[in-house]
Symmetry: C2
Subunit: 256 residues, 2 copies
């Protein structure tokens, strides 16, 4: 049983990449077989897991252009159960390059068909926009996980995202569900964070994870070492929070 | 003498909107005539200055579709010298709608021609991507201001942004200059912030503002009141930092 989860939010800087890498690595540490796919031209997930761009290794862009087989683009990590597919800065041109292609939103889905069952979970890190790249992820995914920074603008963006998900369900992927909303960068010392959590819980049209990811500088330091936070500093509050999120993914969200 | 400055960085959540609103409002408080243009479909600048989306007021989207005159879309604020043009969620479709149009990157520039000299500064808030909307801003602008969150991924993205600016200068806007890099969300208690400032100063191909915007929760609270921070709490460290940035814009970056 394999599940494809797209990590999506058009609001920028809310913790999409940080969640992709650290939730993925935490599940890999719990002996699940994990694949991370980076479809953001910023390549942050690729950097965060230590990909060396000087390496001659095919990226998801080469796969979309049919210059490489999907299988070839899969890259290993120091964790046996964690693999990834790196991104490419040139993906930024895909929107216009493929504007004429009728199946431009299904590229990822078609490529995942044959290999999907090799993994327990596949996570897709998306760019901060609702463009062809994000639509590819939403078409390929079984469900979406929505990182939500506990800030005002991020909360405002939720309505927008919810409308988009409804549209995608109607026209592109009727089976798409929402895994849950994940509060990120929560600062228990400030009222803004608390206000956002209370307000979102009162109105959100989706399930909400009980795990809340605190603001923790270790989560910001780990990427400069090319390591998931559980390898960089497993005792940090950030690492512990993502391990507890992994448990919730495996066991379901219990009503608190 | 009027200057058009695009606030650009494809990395998400680095403080583009916060800088557009608060630098604009600070200059308005210093008696400069300011226009803010929101071309991000997230509409965060529009929200942050208190735009009421229920109001029947034309947006930049209506202007691009030639449904409204540019002049009609200009909206006033409580500050006499601060005006803005609101955005629209439907802008997200512009990329594909205008894919055929040869002048799709010049829409904003053409609209600004006649009104540019009514303002001392015009600031354009961009979405977190290098798409047609951001290219419109880069074609219309005299210079760019680059907010740079003092985090690892944001620093990595600088190379990408620098390459894009070179391409734009070569093919679309040869006069485009860089006003400067602005460090944002700086936390003096953590080494990551300090590391990023040191590393960027050592390699950056652009001027760097002496003003550093500290992480300050007041900057996150002000948008929920639809007010620039100088109106919400002028004594906050966030408001003081943007006032000092306004001075640097007016007087030039002095070598420290
Ligand atoms: N809980 C946290 N505590 C502290 N820093 C964090 C936390 N989560 C993420 N960060 C840092 O905040 C920044 C934004 O996070 P990240 O890059 O994961 O967001 P994103 O949504 O992927 O951004 P983008 O929209 O640009 O893709 C990064 O520099 C990251 O290291
Ligand atoms: N110096 C600061 N201190 C504390 N919070 C800040 C600061 N600057 C911005 N913020 C908050 O951080 C979040 C990200 O900032 P902002 O939305 O301005 O970034 P952006 O680059 O415009 O994001 P996007 O890429 O989504 O357009 C917002 O919730 C904002 O209120
Ligand atoms: Mg990211
Ligand atoms: Mg913004």
């Amino acid at each position: 049983m394999s599940k494809i989860i797209a990590i999506v939010n058009q609001k920028g800087g809310v913790g999409k990449t940080t969640t992709t890498i650290n939730l993925g690595a935490s599940l890999a540490a719990l002996e699940k077989n994990i694949l991370l796919i980076d479809i953001d031209p910023q390549c942050n997930t690729s950097t965060g897991v230590g990909f060396d761009f000087a390496e001659e290794h095919p990226t998801i862009y080469n796969v979309f252009l049919e210059e490489a087989e999907f299988q070839e683009s899969i890259h290993s990590t120091v964790l046996d159960t964690l693999s990834y597919i790196p991104s490419d800065r040139n993906l930024v041109g895909l929107e216009l390059e493929f504007a004429e292609k009728t199946n431009r939103n299904q590229l990822l889905k078609e490529n995942l068909k044959d290999i999907k069952d090799n993994y327990d979970y596949i996570f897709i890190d998306c760019p901060p926009s609702l463009n062809t790249l994000t639509l590819n992820a939403l078409c390929a995914a079984d469900s979406v996980l929505i990182p939500l920074q506990t800030e005002y603008y991020a909360m405002e963006g939720l309505v927008n995202l919810s409308n988009t998900l409804d549209l995608v369900k109607k026209s592109l992927n009727p089976f798409l569900t929402v895994e849950g909303i994940l509060f990120t960068m929560y600062d228990s010392r400030n009222n803004l964070s608390k206000m956002v959590v209370t307000d979102v819980k009162a109105v959100a049209p989706f399930p909400i994870f009980n795990t809340i990811i605190p603001r923790n500088v270790t989560l910001g330091e780990a990427p400069s070492h090319g390591e998931p936070v559980i390898l960089y500093d497993i005792n940090s509050t950030g690492a512990q929070a993502y391990l507890s999120l992994a448990e919730e993914i495996l066991n379901g969200i219990k009503n608190s």
